[in-house]
Amino acid sequence: MQVTGTVLTTRRVDAYHALTVVAPGIAERFRPGHFVSVAVGGAYTSMVTRRAFSVHDVKSDYGGTVELVFTVRGRGTAWLAERRARDTLDLVGPLGRPFPLPRDPAHCVLVGAEYGSAVLFPLADALLARGCRVDFVLGGAGAERVFGAMRARRIAETTTLTTEDGSLGLRGKVTDALPSVIADTRADAVYACGPMETLRAVTAVGMEFDIPVQVAVEERMACGIGVCMTCVIPVIGDDGATRMVRACAEGPVFRGERVRFEDVGTIPFDALGAPGGGARHVS
């Protein structure tokens, strides 16, 4: 659904911007892993595509608020970073498929790189409410790019931090720390969000330990609602066939083992409908 939200608060969290927006309908329907798309640039903008952001938090205050955490990357996020309390924002959401939750209490390791950590907090709350054990591994390039360390420490059994420059926690990447966290906590499942490369590596670790990994991916999106076909990634289906599936509508959450990370950015030759993959190609 589409909602004209009102910005309640803006703040800086480490290297990131956080926006809390009053968006009643969206907050009610939200499940961990959902994202929203935001129109940027105002009414007479030349920016025609919306920007996708994971929902970091929802609260029932003020009739329902959602919080987004983002990093300034280009013109759209720069505009968003300039929003102030009482400005209005045009949001569509909640979008995508949320994280599946384990039926029985399980030991879950939540892995977040950079702002990818944001989406893991509502997930952690949902897992804790089901009696799961939650452990965090959070990382970033430097200390100020590790998002949510304080909150993770408050709610999780253990929190492991990594930075590539060694300015906080262990020097290295989240995947360097992950194997020992999985071993120590006897994890049953891993949830991850971050750049594709990180998700690929996390999935590889999960497969080594033979435990399922759920990843939330990011791909360039024009519509976010499943109509434009711009956001596809190669994913292996239940029948073993690879399809180019929409990250916005079938995702953004996928089973890590199903995503062909090495082939993201290509059409694998054996994908359904690939040129030479059994079907005829016309262009």
Partner: protein, 325 residues
């Protein structure tokens, strides 16, 4: 006073002139989560191909000034799945459906038409001519009157007479009027324009083209003037041919421009990515603009901008008072 928004695509009546642009609304189901599809004049499907197609590699999208580039490559499940799952879904709900088809050879277009000829629920057939002709060194059908005409003649001979065949034209040609004329001579009941002109963007961080496919189709507000020009030229040359105006329509005012240039149906594409409700809003805004100018019927505004300078609009010759816009 309400404005009569009904319009005719050839002999088929639509309740209002707004349709989705091919490839921008998939086959309708996703949009149905937002609003009742019956409120569209018609839904245009993505271009259906014979075989399933995985499309082009990602990134497939790049935002550009007042527009975007796409290189999707007609990804879709193919005609079989369309006939099994997608068309029946639309037909059962009685949604007016313009089915778009795309192919690489005349034979492929003909086969698609044959499969669709007996399928219930096809309101009109739109032939996407912006596909490369694999039998002619990958030249785009729409860029050559003769190639386009061959496709249209074949499809027209196969489709039932009561289903209009619409030729969708590309703007980046030397002479769009001659391509339009060739299509009409070949039997096209209506013309649709414009498809995406080809564009390109370069990522100044990666120092490489922004799209994996290097070039892509430009859409959005950036192409509106191109669409208005094409509709204008073709309406001037072929005033009796119904036109679907498409390209950069974001508001009722944009749609109104295309109507005044000669379009009796208006397609909305990229605007849907920005606002899933865009079609409904644009229809309402168009109606408001017509009402504010004293029009009682949409039909009276079609092509009106072609009247000679100084002459009063026909609908205003009767004694109505124009309210302030």
């Amino acid at each position: 006073m309400s404005v009569d928004m009904r319009t005719f695509l050839a002999h088929v009546e639509l309740a209002n002139p707004i349709t989705t642009a091919a490839g921008c609304a998939s086959s309708g189901r996703e949009l149905a989560q937002f609003f009742d599809l019956h409120r569209l004049g018609a839904l245009t499907t993505r271009s259906i191909t014979m075989a399933p197609r995985a499309g082009r590699p990602t990134p497939r999208m790049a935002e550009t000034p007042s527009g975007m580039l796409n290189a999707v490559g007609l990804q879709g499940p193919g005609i079989e799945a369309f006939l099994e799952r997608e068309l029946p879904w639309l037909a059962q709900r009685g949604i007016k459906t313009i089915v778009s088809i795309g192919g690489g050879t005349v034979a492929e277009y003909s086969e698609l038409a044959r499969r669709l000829a007996d399928a219930p629920g096809v309101t009109a057939l739109e032939v996407n001519l912006s596909c490369p002709n694999i039998e002619d060194r990958g030249r785009i059908f729409a860029r050559e009157g003769s190639a386009a005409a061959e496709v249209i003649a074949s499809v027209r001979s196969i489709m039932r007479y009561d289903v209009p065949v619409v030729a969708k034209l590309a703007p980046d040609v030397a002479d769009i009027v001659s391509v339009a004329r060739a299509c009409v001579d070949a039997g096209a009941d209506a013309l649709s324009m414009i498809n995406n002109p080809l564009g390109m963007a370069i990522d100044t961080e990666a120092l490489r083209p922004s799209l994996a496919a290097v070039t892509g189709g430009l859409s959005g507000p950036a192409v509106l003037p191109l669409a208005v020009r094409c509709v204008w030229q073709v309406h001037a040359a072929l005033p009796g041919v119904p036109l679907i105006g498409i390209g950069g329509v974001m508001s009722g005012r944009d749609a109104f421009q295309l109507v005044l240039a000669g379009a009796c149906v208006v397609g909305v594409g990229t605007a849907l990515f920005h606002d899933p409700y865009a079609c409904l809003r644009i229809e309402r805004e168009l109606e408001d603009l017509l009402r504010a100018r004293g029009f009682q019927r949409l039909a009276d505004a079609v092509g009106l901008a072609h009247r000679p300078p100084g002459s009063a609009p026909r609908h205003l010759l009767v004694d109505t008072e124009e309210s302030a816009p």
